[in-house]
């Protein structure tokens, strides 16, 4: 079976004033469809950088990133934005939601940008909101929701769009143990039920333990062993 995502010898160098920061130094990794993978590593090891590259938010200095047959590492500007809109779901560490839109409107946002009619949007989003226990909060604005509730709305937004993959950068970092556990449960269940491919970065060893596959980064390179490949 050919991989959903192929990261091929990717380098990313940031230029900071006079010095070059080598955030990624030759990373090669494949992800299969339906995988539930954690991206682990110490702070500064390049996790966010790699997620940005796979999420078509940034371009590698060297190497390629492919999603199915699309060479996303070569996309720029409007093409990249459209690719993200059509194929990738995001859940960020914080500040996930558009402040002036309600929970439901936020959850429907991607669908609305894609031009899905209102009834279809609602029919798609409401069951998911119910699934994450937010049905009665669907008309609240983000500032009227707790951090965990906001993260769940973001998960619903990502999943409602039925993307090829969902990328999450430390989705549980701002949540307490119990809430982060619950969010992880939710993502695992949705991964099983809907077969959505998940890739998320984390520091949390409890979270890492529950993942089927863990990719470990150290100083911008893969640290062996990568359990999933074993």
């Amino acid at each position: 079976m050919s991989a959903l995502i192929r990261v091929q010898d990717v380098h990313r160098t940031y230029r900071q004033g006079e010095i070059d920061v080598h955030a990624l130094r030759g990373v090669t990794v494949d992800l299969d469809k339906g995988e539930f993978t954690a991206l682990a590593g110490p702070s500064g090891s390049g996790k966010t950088t790699l997620l940005n590259l796979i999420g078509c938010l940034d371009r590698p200095t060297q190497g390629r990133v492919l999603i199915e047959e699309d060479v996303i590492s070569e996309m720029t500007g409007t093409d990249a934005a459209n690719y993200r809109l059509q194929h990738i779901g995001f859940v960020f560490q914080a500040y996930n939601l558009i402040p002036v839109l309600t929970a439901r409107e936020n959850a429907e946002f991607i669908l609305q940008l894609r031009g899905v009619p209102p009834e279809v949007r609602k029919a798609t989003v409401m069951p998911l909101l119910e699934r994450v226990g937010l049905l009665d909060m669907s008309e609240r604005r983000p500032h009227e929701l707790s951090g965990g509730q906001q993260q769940r709305v973001a998960v619903v937004r990502a999943l409602a769009a039925k993307p090829r993959l969902v990328l999450a950068d430390e989705p549980t970092a701002n949540l307490d143990g119990e809430t982060s556990e619950a969010l992880l449960d939710l993502m695992l269940e949705l991964n099983k039920e809907l077969g959505v491919t998940f890739l998320f970065s984390t520091h949390d060893s409890q979270v890492i333990e529950r993942c089927r596959r863990v990719i470990r980064l150290r100083s911008g390179q893969l640290a062996q062993p990568d359990e999933g490949d074993a």
Binding site: T78, N82, L97, L113
Partner: protein, 441 residues
């Protein structure tokens, strides 16, 4: 897809506008207030200039004037034109011409046995003067001289209140006019005071005097239909230049036509060269004043709006900075740069629409109020006010709405506000989505 995006963008724009109520209200007051003020000041300026033009036409003696060449500058009694009734009739039938008033103008000294006063005596046909300025309405005693009045006892004369006081004469008294006759000799003529006029301007009342055409002609020794001036009252919706052209055409047609046999082409055997002036040419100081006043108003309004535009640009720049995360999020979710810029421009457009509506209501209300009640200039300034020899003390300031000007101001204000949002909007599109994400850390 596009429609759906626009819908949600519009929703966001609208809600974003009310996110910071105080700032939005300040912006609306600034834009709406300056726009409303500019409408109001334009309305007031246009009305003032309109009244000034009316007054100038009155003072000049017509919207278009016909003289012998040089009379306007020299005012010599001998600078005469001939205006037979048939020619006057033809001029009155010229398109755009409302009335033609023939006048004999005399600068002279009026004396009694005790004292004397310099006056500007106008020999007029009272009925023809009404279309421009009706002296009858300003009479405090007596009547205006009629055609055919006069004889052995002296020609009738109406004097300004100030002249009456200066000479200490009363109705029914006789006065003697000393002036240069058309033949160059100094002449004397007897007049009978038949009326008193008070124009409201003290300076004018110290010099003004009216008689009929026959009285003035006999004082100067003019013959038949000779006059110094034809004051042409025009349809004010037409430009005076247009009327002037039509009048010139009529005069030329007369000179080369059969009617010229009845006079009008020559005076004392010599062909007269006529001079046709618009009131603007006759009173260039007024035109200059209006132009300078207009220019000053424009500069003031433009400066005002540029200041407002900078304030808005600054405020929008702050909005962009505050919302870097939001724009980063939108970009990451797949909203393209141009659409993010579009969101900001949409927000500005909504703001502009709300502000201009408020400003228009403000300006229009002020316009209606001023139009209804008016503003008494004399009361306002408490002193006599004048421009280029025109007394405006009796003027009541109102407001005049010129749709084209208001539309221009509206489009201009709207465009300027929209332009001020361009740079901030462009800034927002320059955000790399991955960079914006870093703000979380």
């Amino acid at each position: 897809m596009f429609k759906s995006t626009v819908l949600v963008m519009f929703l966001m724009a609208w809600r974003n506008l009310w996110r910071n109520r105080v700032r939005t209200l300040i912006l609306i007051s600034a834009i709406g207030g300056s726009y409303g003020l500019s409408l109001f000041s334009m309305g007031m300026g246009d009305d003032m200039h309109g009244s000034l033009a009316d007054k100038a036409g009155e003072i000049a003696g017509g919207h278009v004037l016909v003289h012998a060449k040089g009379f306007h500058a020299d005012r010599e009694s001998s600078q005469i034109i001939d205006a037979p009734p048939a020619l006057l009739q033809l001029l009155r039938a010229t398109p755009g011409v409302v009335e033609v008033a023939p006048r004999v103008l005399i600068a002279g000294l009026l004396t009694t046995s005790e004292s004397s006063a310099p006056i500007m005596l106008q020999g007029v046909d009272t009925d023809r003067e009404k279309a421009l300025f009706d002296p009858t309405s300003k009479l405090t005693q007596g009547v205006m001289p009629k055609t055919g009045d006069g004889g052995q006892l002296g020609h009738p004369i109406v004097l300004g209140k100030g002249v009456m006081a200066e000479l200490s004469v009363k109705l029914g008294d006789r006065v003697v006019l000393t002036s240069n006759r058309a033949d160059g000799e100094v002449g004397r003529a007897l007049f009978l005071v038949t009326g008193v006029i008070a124009t409201g301007s003290r300076d004018l009342d110290r010099a003004i005097a009216y008689t009929n055409l026959a009285g003035a002609r006999s004082a100067l020794g003019l013959k038949g239909s000779q006059v110094h001036e034809l004051g042409i009252v025009a349809d004010m919706t037409l430009a005076s230049e247009t009327i002037k052209t039509a009048v010139l055409a009529t005069l030329n047609a007369w000179d080369s036509g059969p009617g010229a046999q009845k006079g009008g082409k020559t005076v004392a055997g010599k062909t007269v060269t006529r001079e046709v002036l618009t009131w603007q040419q006759a009173m260039p100081e007024i035109v200059g004043f209006i132009e300078i006043d207009d220019a000053f108003n424009y500069v003031f309004l433009i400066v005002l709006f540029i200041i407002v535009a900078f304030a808005i640009a600054n405020s929008f720049l702050m909005v962009v900075m505050e919302r870097v995360r939001e724009f980063g999020l939108l970009s990451a979710l797949g909203v393209t740069g141009p659409r993010i810029a579009g969101l900001l421009i949409l927000e500005t457009a909504v703001l502009t629409l709300v502000s201009l509506t408020a400003g228009f209501l403000l300006g229009f209300t002020a316009h209606l109020a001023l139009q209804h009640w008016g503003l008494d200039v004399a009361e306002l300034y408490g002193v006599e006010m004048g421009v280029g020899g025109i007394d405006m003390g009796d003027m009541v300031l109102r407001s005049e709405l010129r749709p084209v000007k208001w539309l221009t101001a509206t489009v201009g204000a709207g465009t300027l506000v929209m332009l001020s949002a361009l740079y901030p909007a462009w800034k927002a599109t320059r955000m790399a989505p991955s960079e914006a994400m870093r703000f979380y850390e």
